[in-house]
Structure formats: structure tokens, C-alpha cells
């Protein structure tokens, strides 16, 4: 499968990133993260063999990916892109069966086996019910699902997906990401997905590839990458930081005060989130804090006053 050694990706002579040693194993679900312009698409396009690396080679089964004949490469590497092709009068099954093109003769005639493979690919993305629909009548999420099915019908060893969730709403992103994870693990196809969805990627990926900028490339398990602080380096902005304790982005401001939450369970968690949102730091114990908020049976107590909801407590705190 993919193996690289001191690969420099970029356009022309301009190097965007240097990857020292990377191999991709069977059935891995890899999320490629980085801010815009750090070379996510360039990396995927280089891996797909669409563009030439500045230096080094991407080897696919031991042979530079660009040296594979196009049709043979198409049996090993499939891609799904951000942009949504607008094709009139094309049905979903026709689109998915296009994935069999690398295996058919010049007429493109499909065997019964080809059709079965295409149908199986559509089933893997849970899109059987879309089979007879026209592609341009699909929602964005459905369309990306059938584009994934088309790529799966190519029976590739590796699938490269470039920000395919960029246009989708949150439920569709979660669905697609978990579908991809499932597909990678069940079929053994390796999937490299570039994404903006940091939290979703950290939850779902087996492995994170991070392009933090300045030409660096970081490769590791999501948790290792997070703990190394590299995610913060890559994404932190002046007023937004990646919090290692919560695994989320939080606003950075000098705290308005230090609060202690005297509550357990979900109520304590969400109360803490509300306080952080309002700009307070959370203390480990009551003596370290400026004030204490206590969870009562049906509400919250602060400063001797009762608040039935977190909302009313928050309003009172902002007026503090």
C-alpha cells in the first residue's frame, strides 16, 4: 500500500509540507487535519497521483503512484471530492456503476458481478433506497453518500476523500464519518479523509495526520496528537484555544473570576460549561474560588439566591 520516504508536497517548487516517513496500513481510518492553505488537498492529490511531488515519491505497492497506468491505479485508489458534480438525468445506480469502469472493457459493459459489487457498495453506505433516484434530486448528504458508494465500487485499496463533509449539516457529517469508519474496518479499505471537523475527527479516526503549518507533518493516534499540544499549535487563535481537559475549543480571555461548582453528574458538567462560556475559570475546591454555585433539588443557588434554570443564573452572573 502507500509508503513514502521524505516526501515534499507542493506546487512547482513551493514546498507546503515535508513528510518524513509514513505508511498506510490496511483498513485504517485516517483523518487529515489542518487549517486552509496548509496543504491538505495538495497532500491528497499527490497521494492520488494527480500532481507531482516537489521531491520524493509516493509509492503505491512499491511503485511510484504516478507511474501506474491510469486504469490500474483506478483499481487501487479512489477519490471523493468536495465539489458536487451537477449531472442531469443521471440515476444513482448509473453513478455507482461508473465505479466499475476501471474493470470493464472499452464498451463499458458490466457483468452481473460488476452490478452486484455496485449494489453492495450502495448498501454499505445505506443508500439502497436511493438507487433509482436522479443524482441531482439528492440532498447534499445523500449525494456524498452515493459518491462514496461509487468510490467503493472501484474496490480500491485506498480511498482519498477531500473535505467531503464541508457542505453538510452536523447530523450528516456524523453519519458520513461513522459510515467511513465502519467501511474501513469492515472492508479493509484504507480511508484518508481531510476534514475541518476537529472534534469529530478526534473521536472517529484511528489515526490523525496533522498539518500544523510551517511545513510540518504530524502523524499519530488522535489522543497522542492531542496530548502533544500539536492541535493547539495548529488551530489556536488569539481568542480561541483547544482545551486538552475538555477536548473542545474554548474562548480565551482573562477569567472574570474563579468559580467552584458544587454539583455532580451531568448537571455539574453543563453548569461548568456555562461558567466557562461566561468567562469564569473553574476551581478544584471551594476555598480556591471567589464564589460557589450549588446544585439544589430543582435549581441552582448562588450568592444566597435561588435560580430555577442555568439561564437565569447566567443572567444574574453577567450582571455581577
Amino acid at each position: 500500500m502507500f509508503a513514502i520516504d521524505n516526501l515534499q508536497i507542493g506546487y512547482g517548487r513551493r514546498v507546503l509540507s515535508t513528510l518524513s516517513q509514513v505508511t498506510v496500513e490496511r483498513g485504517e481510518f485516517i483523518c487529515l487535519l489542518g487549517r486552509n492553505g496548509q496543504g491538505k488537498s495538495t497532500l491528497l492529490r499527490t497521494f492520488a497521483g494527480f500532481i507531482r511531488p516537489v521531491a520524493g515519491e509516493v509509492r503505491l505497492d512499491g511503485r511510484p503512484v504516478r507511474e501506474w497506468p491510469a486504469a490500474e491505479r483506478a483499481r487501487k485508489v479512489a477519490v471523493v471530492l468536495t465539489d458536487r458534480p451537477q449531472v442531469g438525468a443521471l440515476r444513482v445506480w448509473e453513478l455507482v456503476e461508473m465505479g466499475r469502469q476501471p474493470y470493464t472493457g472499452w464498451t463499458g459493459a458490466l457483468s452481473a458481478e460488476d452490478r452486484a459489487i455496485a449494489a453492495e457498495a450502495l448498501a454499505q453506505v445505506e443508500g439502497e433506497h436511493l438507487r433509482d433516484r436522479f443524482v441531482d434530486s439528492l440532498s447534499d448528504g445523500e449525494r456524498q453518500r452515493v459518491m462514496i458508494a461509487r468510490a467503493l465500487a472501484q474496490q480500491p485499496q485506498v480511498m482519498l476523500l477531500d473535505e467531503i463533509t464541508a457542505f453538510l449539516d452536523l447530523p450528516s457529517r456524523v453519519t458520513i464519518t461513522s459510515t467511513l469508519r465502519k467501511v474501513a474496518h469492515e472492508t479493509g479499505v484504507s480511508i484518508i479523509l481531510s476534514s475541518h471537523d476537529l472534534e469529530l475527527s478526534l473521536n472517529a479516526a484511528d489515526r490523525i495526520w496533522l498539518l500544523p503549518g510551517e511545513g510540518r507533518f504530524i502523524d499519530g493516534a488522535p489522543e497522542d496528537v492531542a496530548l502533544s499540544g500539536a492541535i493547539g499549535e495548529a488551530f489556536d487563535q488569539s481568542n480561541l484555544v483547544f482545551s486538552l481537559s475538555s477536548g473542545r475549543f474554548e474562548t480565551r480571555a482573562s477569567p472574570r473570576g474563579v468559580a467552584f461548582v458544587d454539583a455532580a453528574g451531568p448537571a455539574g458538567l453543563w453548569l461548568g460549561r456555562a461558567l466557562e462560556r461566561l468567562g469564569y475559570r473553574l476551581a478544584e475546591s471551594a476555598p480556591q474560588a471567589d464564589f460557589v454555585i450549588k446544585r439544589l433539588h430543582e435549581g441552582y443557588e448562588w450568592n444566597g439566591l435561588f435560580h430555577p434554570t442555568i439561564g437565569s443564573l447566567a443572567r444574574a452572573l453577567t450582571q455581577r
Binding site: 494527480f50 491510469a70 483506478a74 451537477q86 470493464t104 472499452w106 472501484q154
Partner: protein, 346 residues
């Protein structure tokens, strides 16, 4: 599986319509013939009988030219719409025909400069010079447009084609201003687009070129289908895109240029027929659309030609006028329905 049979049904229906219109075209004209007289004419080739001369010498070449021309222009439009990923692309809208017109006008004017001997060749109408000139003009524009297509969007490309058309018309006007009347008439006769001037000897050039174009179209059907998704997807499906683009352009020219050269610039067929085929067949796969497009193109063009050749009192109807009456409303409808100019809704 009705979706799989619909294209076949559409092709069969178009073939039926085509056959009926073809028979009607052989019967109808200034001299009306019965089916029996048409058969007598076909059966007595070279006998010199009136039926034979009308059917075999006058009507049959025209009917065959309209069938071949309509099919070829439809297929050329199908390939160009796919190649340029633009639902309104065809030899006419992208200025290829304007290039052909300019080429023809240049040859005719050059004939005036070189001398009357050259003009003698031209008076045979659609003489070799006009044929070559228009074909070269189309080729030049096709190369220019395909070079520009990479850099500009779908709408810009259409506007460029339109402007190129105006530019060619302007140049042609100026060129003709400096020629004499007979040359102007030669150009006007060619520019009026008719199948009636095609003779049996023209098929010796027309048929092999169109045959090659058709073979090219069929061979390229599989990668053309992949190109429906765009260049990158086509490449990821194993298509050598730059080489393939050149081949498609070559096949398109082989189909469109001979028809334009021998029959003049026939408008709208390449633009609307692929959409009719897609809409009726309910599929976008090129392999499925090739028979449907060719047959619908032939049937539509021959029908328009039949209207032109009805026994009118005065003979002022032009083929392009009839095609415009059918085509322009369809294109307007298409523009209003298209969700984006990149996708051909039909």
C-alpha cells in the same frame, strides 16, 4: 428495471418517426408522388423516368444528407456538452460554425483575388475550397475554445462563443463588401444552410468522415460518461484526460465540420437534440444516448427539412428558421429550468 428499457424504447420510437418522415420526404414536394410512384422511382434507377429523377436524383440525396447531418450534429453536440461540461455547448453556440462561415467567406474572397479560374471550382457550390475553408475555420475555433475552456467558467465560455460569432459576422460582412455579386451569392447560398444542394458525389467525402466521427464517438462513450463527473473524477476512474480531450475534439470536428462544409451552418440541432435525448431516455450515460441522440437528431432535422420542402407557393422558407422556431423556445426553457449552468437538467 424500466429505467434500463426506456432508452431503447426512445430509440425505437425515434427510428419509427424517422422512417415515416423519410417516406413522407420522398413523396412530398412541388411534385407530389404516391408511395407506389416513390417505389417505382427507387426501382428504376438510371432509367431517366420522371419518378426516378425526382426520387433518386433530387430527393434521396437531400433526405440522406438531412439524416446524416442531423445525426452527426446531434452527436457532436452531445460530445461538446460533455467535453465542456456545459449544457449549452455545441458547434453553433461556441462559435465553431462562425469560424466555418468565416473560413468559407475567406476562401470565396480569396478566389476573387486569385482569379476566375479558382472561382470556377467554387461555382460547383460547396466546392472543395468552401468545404476546406469552413472545416479549417471550425477546427481553429474548436482549438481556441478548448484552450480557453480550462480558464473560464461555463457562462463566460458561451459569451466568448457568442462574441466570436459577432466578430466573424462582422468580418464576413466587411469581406463581402469587397467582393462582387456572384461571390456574395455563392456565400449566401452556402450560408443559408440547406441539405438540398448535396449531390451523390458529395457522399464520397461526407459519409467516410461522418463514419469515422461516429466510430470515435462510440469508442469514446465510456470515458465520456466518466467525464460527466468532471476532469478529476474521470482521471480517478482511469481516463488519461488530456489525451482523451484531444480525441473527443477530433471526433466532434469529424462529425460537425463535414456537415457544415457541405450543408452550411445548421443551427440548434447540436444544442437541443442531446437534451431531448437525455430527457426522453431518462439517462445520462453516453453509450445509451448515442443511438437516441443520432436518431432524434436525424428525425428532427429531416422533419424541419420536410417543412421547408412542402409545396409552398413561394419558396422562401429556410431550414434554420424552422429549426429556430423549435430550438429557441427549448433553449429558453432549458435556461430557466437549469439549476446551474454546469448541469443539464432536462
Amino acid at each position: 428495471m424500466s429505467a434500463a428499457f426506456r432508452p431503447v424504447a426512445v430509440s425505437l420510437a425515434a427510428a419509427g418517426v424517422l422512417a415515416a418522415v423519410a417516406v413522407a420526404s420522398l413523396m412530398v414536394g412541388q411534385v407530389m408522388l404516391s408511395p407506389g410512384e416513390v417505389l417505382t422511382g427507387l426501382g428504376s434507377i438510371g432509367s431517366g423516368s420522371m419518378e426516378s429523377r425526382i426520387v433518386v436524383d433530387l430527393r434521396l440525396p437531400r433526405v440522406l444528407a438531412a439524416i446524416l447531418g442531423g445525426a452527426a450534429l446531434g452527436l457532436a453536440g452531445l460530445m461538446m456538452q460533455t467535453l465542456f461540461q456545459n449544457p449549452l455547448a455545441d458547434a453553433w453556440s461556441l462559435g465553431l460554425m462562425a469560424g466555418g462561415q468565416l473560413g468559407a467567406a475567406l476562401v470565396i474572397v480569396a478566389g476573387a483575388v486569385v482569379g476566375p479560374g479558382f472561382l470556377m471550382i467554387l461555382t460547383g457550390f460547396a466546392g472543395l475550397g468552401v468545404v476546406a475553408g469552413s472545416a479549417l475555420g471550425m477546427l481553429a475555433v474548436a482549438l481556441a475554445m478548448s484552450a480557453m475552456a480550462r480558464r473560464v467558467g461555463a457562462v463566460t465560455l458561451l459569451v466568448l462563443g457568442l462574441m466570436l460569432g459577432f466578430l466573424a459576422q462582422g468580418l464576413i460582412s466587411v469581406l463581402l463588401h469587397f467582393t462582387n455579386r456572384s461571390q456574395g451569392r455563392i456565400f449566401a447560398a452556402w450560408n443559408d444552410a440547406t441539405f438540398a444542394n448535396v449531390t451523390w458525389s458529395d457522399f464520397a467525402a461526407l459519409a467516410p468522415l461522418l463514419g469515422l466521427g461516429l466510430i470515435g464517438c462510440v469508442i469514446l462513450a465510456k470515458p465520456l460518461t466518466a467525464l460527466l463527473l468532471g476532469d478529476v473524477y474521470a482521471e480517478s476512474l482511469g481516463v488519461n484526460v488530456p489525451r482523451f480531450r484531444r480525441l473527443v475534439l477530433g471526433a466532434t470536428i469529424l462529425l460537425a465540420a463535414p456537415v457544415t462544409a457541405f450543408c452550411g451552418p445548421v443551427a440548434f440541432v447540436g444544442l437541443i437534440v442531446p437534451h431531448l435525448a437525455r430527457g426522453l431516455a431518462g439517462s445520462a450515460r453516453i453509450g445509451v444516448l448515442i443511438p437516441a441522440t443520432a436518431l432524434i437528431g436525424a428525425a428532427l432535422t429531416l422533419s424541419a427539412d420536410l417543412v421547408v420542402h412542402l409545396p409552398w407557393e413561394q419558396h422562401f422558407l429556410h431550414l434554420n428558421a424552422i429549426l429556430a422556431l423549435i430550438g429557441a423556445p427549448l433553449v429558453i426553457l432549458l435556461l430557466l429550468r437549469a439549476r446551474s449552468l454546469r448541469g443539464g437538467e432536462s
